[in-house]
């Protein structure tokens, strides 16, 4: 039995819907102590993405999407960078003046940002050395 192919626009929307729903399910079900069900829902969303990509014979994503993604990633790094340059020194000063106490959540954000920029730096060096 054959099914009619879907238009790339429909496939894009389907993929977006599946990814958002899968991610929300993972986060939500983990919060309510159902992590395995959350992971199962997330994996199911990935299956839907893979199946959706097979339902069209036209490109769903192309170079423009890649350009948009690169610009979004660049702006995200910039926002994190500017925020980090202001927030973390300020928090450190406040900590030194006993006006702020590092909590697990604030430490986790600090470590996350540090790992993010270490990864960015490593990729910058690796890619730069190839070009």
């Amino acid at each position: 039995m054959t099914y009619p192919l879907l238009s790339p626009v429909v496939v894009r929307r389907l993929i977006g819907f599946a990814v958002v729903l899968g991610s929300l399910a993972l986060a939500g079900l983990t919060i309510v102590s159902r992590p395995l069900v959350g992971v199962a829902a997330y994996v199911l969303s990935l299956v839907v993405v893979a199946a959706a990509l097979l339902q069209t014979d036209s490109p769903v994503f192309d170079e423009r999407d890649e350009t948009v993604s690169k610009e979004a990633a660049s702006r995200t790094l910039t926002v994190f960078g500017v925020a980090s340059a202001v927030v973390f020194p300020a928090l450190t000063v406040a900590w030194g003046l006993d006006m702020f106490e590092w909590q697990p959540w604030s430490s986790a954000i600090g470590v996350f940002v540090a790992v993010l920029y270490l990864t960015y730096g490593a990729f910058t060096v690796a890619i730069g050395s190839r070009r």
């Binding site: 790339p8 626009v9 036209s58 490109p59 192309d62 170079e63």
Partner: protein
């Protein structure tokens, strides 16, 4: 970068969808190029020129000055 893509496409009676299919890109990309909202890659620029059997300059008109050539350099 300004371009004459819409005029060329209409001259050949192609829809955005049909042109996109020929060039293996999305219709949104063709629409964005025609609206001057997206500058395509060099690869797509050459594919477009090749498809319409014309030079790159017949399709795209860069905003930068192109006055100096290598023969004018000391």
């Amino acid at each position: 970068m300004k371009n004459s893509l819409k005029q060329l496409r209409e001259q050949y009676g192609l829809s955005q969808r049909a042109l996109a299919a020929q060039l293996e890109v999305t219709r949104q990309t063709i629409n964005a190029i025609e609206g001057d909202r997206y500058d395509p890659s060099a690869e797509l620029v050459f594919k477009l020129a090749h498809f319409f059997e014309c030079s790159v300059e017949d399709v795209f008109h860069p905003d930068v000055g192109l006055d100096t050539t290598v023969s004018e350099v000391d």
